[in-house]
């Protein structure tokens, strides 16, 4: 139990934990919103995120080619902005596709929640495997050679050829906070704030809260619940796309099963913060990221996942509704 190491490097461990936690939080938003509106755990949201990471990598390969270079964040911002748009669109489309194919037919038939959950798990595996078999799928259309750099070695690690070199900007507690750290943390907070404001202030957001609170009364009030559900998935997808871009800026590599572990952690973060609560997702994500790092520092990195899940259990034992508790439907205007 190495507490000395934790204290000596507290700033570094905490800030790097916060930046990873911010990405967890953005993905957790998708889980929490869908749960708030539909009481459904959207297991396939991890694949929505994964598709977003591939979109980022593909955009980089498309514009830059495959030669491996290192660039500063400043010179890559333009490319990353395009990648962000592409990732958000891709993730949103996958999320809407999921809703249309895997959930809506079951919801319309009034299927039990458990059945929809199973559909979610199936969708999750299918999407991950589709990405892993993309070389063969593309081969059916005879495009295997043209799209070789995008689909070859479909089950292998796929890396963005442009590596972003972080530059230290200022120092906190002995750790040089880099521009990448600031970007990831800052943009995640910004997006969450934007989403929170949207849900609280806009008409569509009111509709989401209404359906989350009581779908039947909302329908009586003239809220089109199908549209609201689609909007929820869309927003979750957009956030996942943003998370994917930030993840690729920070980590740079992805693979077809990259969504799985990440999704489990993000879901854990959503539950820890209070499932159905947007601000809870943010808090849960940040707390999880930080505690993973602290746990790794004290016990060793092999205990990282143990620490994360023990933390979840402890939080729920003390406060079963999660850290922030209140749900989407109860958010005040």
């Amino acid at each position: 139990m190495n507490f000395a190491f934790l204290f000596n490097n507290f700033a570094e461990l905490t800030i790097t934990g916060l930046t990873l936690g911010a990405v967890y939080a953005l993905v957790a938003l998708g889980y929490t919103m869908v749960y708030g509106v539909l009481q459904l755990i959207n297991f396939a949201h991890s694949e929505v995120f994964m598709f977003g990471t591939f979109a980022v990598a593909w955009v980089v390969v498309f514009f830059h080619g495959t030669s491996s270079v290192s660039q500063s964040l400043g010179s890559t911002l333009g490319l990353m902005a395009i990648a962000l748009v592409a990732a958000m669109i891709t993730s949103a489309l996958i999320a809407l596709l999921l809703e249309r194919v895997a959930y809506r037919p079951l919801i319309n038939r009034g299927a039990p929640k458990l059945i929809i959950l199973i559909s979610a798990i199936g969708a999750s595996f299918s999407l991950a495997e589709i990405m892993g078999l993309r070389d063969r799928i593309v081969g059916w259309f005879g495009l295997r050679d043209n799209l070789a750099v995008y689909v070859n070695q479909a089950r292998n690690v796929y890396s963005s050829p442009v590596t972003i070199d972080p530059k230290p900007l200022f120092t906190i507690g002995g750790y040089g906070v880099t521009d990448v750290d600031v970007l990831v943390l800052g943009s995640a907070l910004l997006m969450m704030f934007a989403l929170d404001q949207f849900v609280r202030r806009s008409r569509a957001g009111r509709g989401i809260r209404a359906v989350a609170q009581d779908p039947e009364s909302a329908a009586l009030m003239g809220v089109n619940s199908n549209r609201v559900i689609q909007l929820t998935f869309l927003l979750g997808g957009l956030m996942a796309g943003a998370a994917a871009t930030l993840y690729m800026i920070r980590i740079g590599s992805t693979r077809q099963n990259a969504g799985f572990i990440f999704g489990v952690k993000a879901f854990t973060a959503a539950v820890m913060g209070g499932i159905g609560n947007l601000r809870g997702a943010l808090l849960g994500g940040l707390v999880l990221g930080v505690f993973e790092n602290w746990g790794s520092a004290v016990f060793g990195t092999e205990w990282k996942d143990v620490v994360a899940f023990v933390l979840l259990v402890l939080v729920l034992l003390v406060r079963p509704q999660g850290l922030l508790g209140e749900a989407l439907g109860k958010a005040r205007a």
Partner: protein, 385 residues
Amino acid sequence: MIRNTPSWRIAAAAVAAGLTLAACGTTNDSSNSSSGSSGGSSCQNYKLAYLGATTGDYGALGQNMVGGIKLALDEYNKDHSDCKVDVQVFDSQGNPEKATPLATQIVGDDSIVGLVGPGFSGESLATGKTFAEAGLPVISPSATQVSITQQGWSNWHRVIGNDAGQGAADAKYLTDTANAKKVFVADDGSDYGKGLADVVKQTLGSTVVDTDTVSTGQTDFSATVTKVKSSGADAFFYGGYYAEAGLLAKQLRQAGFTGLFMSGDGSEDPAFVQAAGAQAANGAILSAPAAPAPADFNSKYKAVNGSDSGLYSTQAYDAANIFLAGLDAGKADPQALNDFIGSYSGDGVSGPIAFDSKGDVKESTIWAYTVKNGKLDTENPTPIK
């Protein structure tokens, strides 16, 4: 009350006994010989089996090996067009739990004369007993953990040097060639990665300044990076595979680590450079108990398989060829084939091959491959003496 009647108890005992017997036995009576004829010298259409990951996280490595086997078979079948040998691929995804029932399937198939595989150390340990009991000759192209050949399985061989040799050579490289005074050793907790890292740690002794264990599939290593920086290490050794190694190298360099990055044969793959980015990968040393393939190997491989050869392709090719040489010499019976392998001596594309009494290759040089100018230089490694 019905549960306590004697007839229920007898029935329950019978079911339990039946299940136990079914689980224990490996039976050959469920197999069917794939050759229809039973005439004396007609072709038996033998098969080689491959057991390993062809899909999943490390599918790329398995596909390299299957490609090597197919190249060997392609060349053999050209000369033996009247009696071809085929390969049957059993995909375990590198997972010992998935490999075990597949091993039972393999020993149950009479037309399979030998196994090229298993691909990974974990699955080798899990399936070794099944193959040993059936006496099926096994030659692994890539499973390097030391303990596999210490189990007393006389049918198990490998054409690749084991981790004891590789770990010792890596440690030697770190102290003698790289002049490292403080080495940080990390591993991924897998049978292979931990095994290799443990040998390195043992050989380095007090030069090891700190250690850490990560997991396969992990992508954020900030805690490990912080640990490395705070330990003041001037060299970093990683026991594990290329996906994590590449990300570790990238994150270490981004955090300002300037020491040597070294890893073993699980990272010796061009995907390491992609995952790390050219700049972070430059200067990395990746060891492997495999010499570079001869110049024409890749073009022949590509002609048969349609893609470039990779890590372990040459080993799988050599392993398959040993089996084929045995079949050519008329040794199709498991015991005869096993004896043939045990006394085999020849030059494969991966190096000279002869097996010691435990199944390890007698001669194994460990080669240090360097990443230069953003590319893994697979042509000019330096041997670690």
